[in-house]
Amino acid sequence: MSALKFILQKEFKQIFRDKGMLPIIFVMPIMQLMVLSFAATFDVKNIQLEVVDRDHSQLSQSLIEKYVASEYFNLVHFKHATDTKGTSLQEGSVNISLEIPNDFEKNIMQKTPVTLSAKVNAIDGMTAGISASYAQSIIQEFREEFVKANIGLFEQQNTPFEINFSMQNWYNATLDYKFYMVPGLLVLLVSMIGMFLTSMNIVKEKEIGTIEQLNVTPITKGEFIIGKVLPFWCIGMFVLSLGLTIAKLVFSVPMQGPIYLIFLFAMLYLFVVLGIGLFISTLADTQQQSMFIAWFFMVIFVLLSGMFTPIENMPVWAQKITLLNPFRYFIEVMRSVLLKGATWDDVKMNFFIIGIYAIVINTMSVLAYRKTNG
């Protein structure tokens, strides 16, 4: 294993001597996250709103009026308590469906927490995220005004009254669109490092012929592969840390759950993407070829990752394919840990699956890598 030390030394020297490399490591994550922040400020207007009023009180009426008065919402459906649940949401004629429970007014007056439930049409992930946050902010305003107007009622109370906003189809409801996207982008970044940089690095040695010089030495496959993969593993972890720091400092992305879960998962996940990169390098003879193959996988992985389109909105066959997609598992872990405060129990299945994935893909690439060619 002493050969490994020499390979690692050489790889690190070459990587940091490569002038193109530092921008990739430092600038790419910053740029991608910044561009996102522009993309995330899209204003969404004319949100088609459906209200199901089960309370029919004065208070529920004034809440509905607040929605109608806002420039963002169009009240397109109004349902009474007796109506059976409609399908306007599924039909797509409505973006968001808000249900006011019975005893809404009564509970507020008694200072019992109230839960409004909203269903969001999440097919267009971006609109959905923004509509949800607007809907939420109107409720906040409503609450503040109500408290102000009824100072006498609430003055002596330590517990302010609560209106909870519960979301279905959309767990990121109380948050910004960018909060939803940042975790996905971080996964994308880390994956690109793994797939592109490793495959191109190895294929470059094929192109310039140095791989032959290595293959004629007694170096073992394991030493070669670990020596190639480990530096990019470190870079991947570094980029992830940098990305999370930016997400926190610049975008104030919430970090509800334990961050170490994300790092632990990334440690495992990187072996999957690095293994894919390695596998690509066994298929390609030139760096162009390796780029094309890596892009091919990248596009499929991104589209079927749930990054833009929530997986539950995909056709069933596509949902099944996503089960094979490593991106999916990391994005799930990222979002659930950062946004939902998931714990080990919530994500242990993802660890298990990605662990198996890492073993399978790396076995495949080790078998496919040959020191002696046919």
Binding site: S2, A3, K5, F6, I7, Q9, K10, K13, Q14, R17, D18, I208, G209, T210, E212, Q213, L214, N215, V216, T217, P218, I219, E223, K371, T372, N373, G374
Partner: protein, 248 residues
């Protein structure tokens, strides 16, 4: 030089599809000798060498290198040989010292050995001034000598040189051959391919390949006698024309 055979092949063949790049070659190389492997472009020299160095699996035939089988013991062969490919293949973005350290290191040389042999090598080459420069800044002639020195750093039993003097000026070629002799004097067997017929004269024995086959085999003196020629150039032209096709 003794008569112990360090490389031995019998009808060794490499086919790419239906095309036989190396077609049933049979020869041997004796321990300590300088063995020249000659032939026109595309004759199959590099392909034969890659089979002997364990870079390419042979299609059929038999061969042993340093006592190990080229079909099954390629990794054992690799411990005993040095190889300098036709294409310069040290790392251009590393310095001479770094290349020495890397290749010596993966052959398992100790830190002391690396220091000692590295320093000796740099002095012998007269390259102390540039030992910290990246190899891409070093002229080709020097690079070839460096590649040879790196290929022999771990003191292999056999060193394979694939057209080591291609594109190099006559003076550097001369110096290069001096290095080859030095290695042979130290007991290393040298297996070298070349296009230059004058270099054939420097070899103890040679084989000449035409279209994947060995068309001439023996010492330069024997070959010149066999083909009734004054120099190796003539021998080569006659063999290439297919005159007096002589198989061992």
């Amino acid at each position: 030089m003794n008569s112990e055979k360090i490389i031995e092949t019998t009808k060794l063949t490499k086919a790419f599809g239906s095309f036989k790049a190396v077609n049933e070659i049979t020869f041997d190389v004796k321990k300590g000798e300088i063995f020249g492997f000659l032939g026109a472009n595309g004759a199959g020299k590099s392909t034969a060498m890659k089979m002997l160095t364990g870079l390419l699996s042979p299609t059929s035939g038999e061969a042993t290198v340093a006592g190990f089988d080229v079909f099954t013991q390629q990794e054992k062969i690799k411990k005993n040989i040095g190889y300098m490919s036709q294409k310069f293949s040290l790392y251009d973005d590393l310095s001479l010292l770094e290349n020495i350290k890397f290749f010596g290191g993966i052959y398992g040389l100790s830190k002391e050995q690396l220091n000692e042999r590295g320093t000796a090598m740099i002095e012998r080459l007269g390259l102390s001034d540039v030992s910290h420069k990246l190899l891409k800044e070093v002229p080709l002639g020097w690079k070839q000598k460096i590649a040879f020195s790196v290929a022999t750093l771990h003191q292999p039993k056999i060193v394979f040189l694939d057209e080591p003097t291609g594109g190099v000026d006559p003076i550097t070629r001369r110096q290069f051959w001096e290095m080859i002799y030095e290695a042979a004097d130290n007991g290393t067997t040298v297996f070298v391919t070349t296009h230059y017929m004058d270099e054939a004269e420097y070899c103890n024995r040679i084989s000449m390949m035409v279209d994947g086959r060995i068309a001439g085999y023996g010492s330069p003196k024997e070959l010149k006698a066999d083909f009734k020629s004054d120099n190796m150039d003539e021998v080569f032209v006659k063999i290439a024309r297919g005159e007096n096709y002589k198989i061992q």
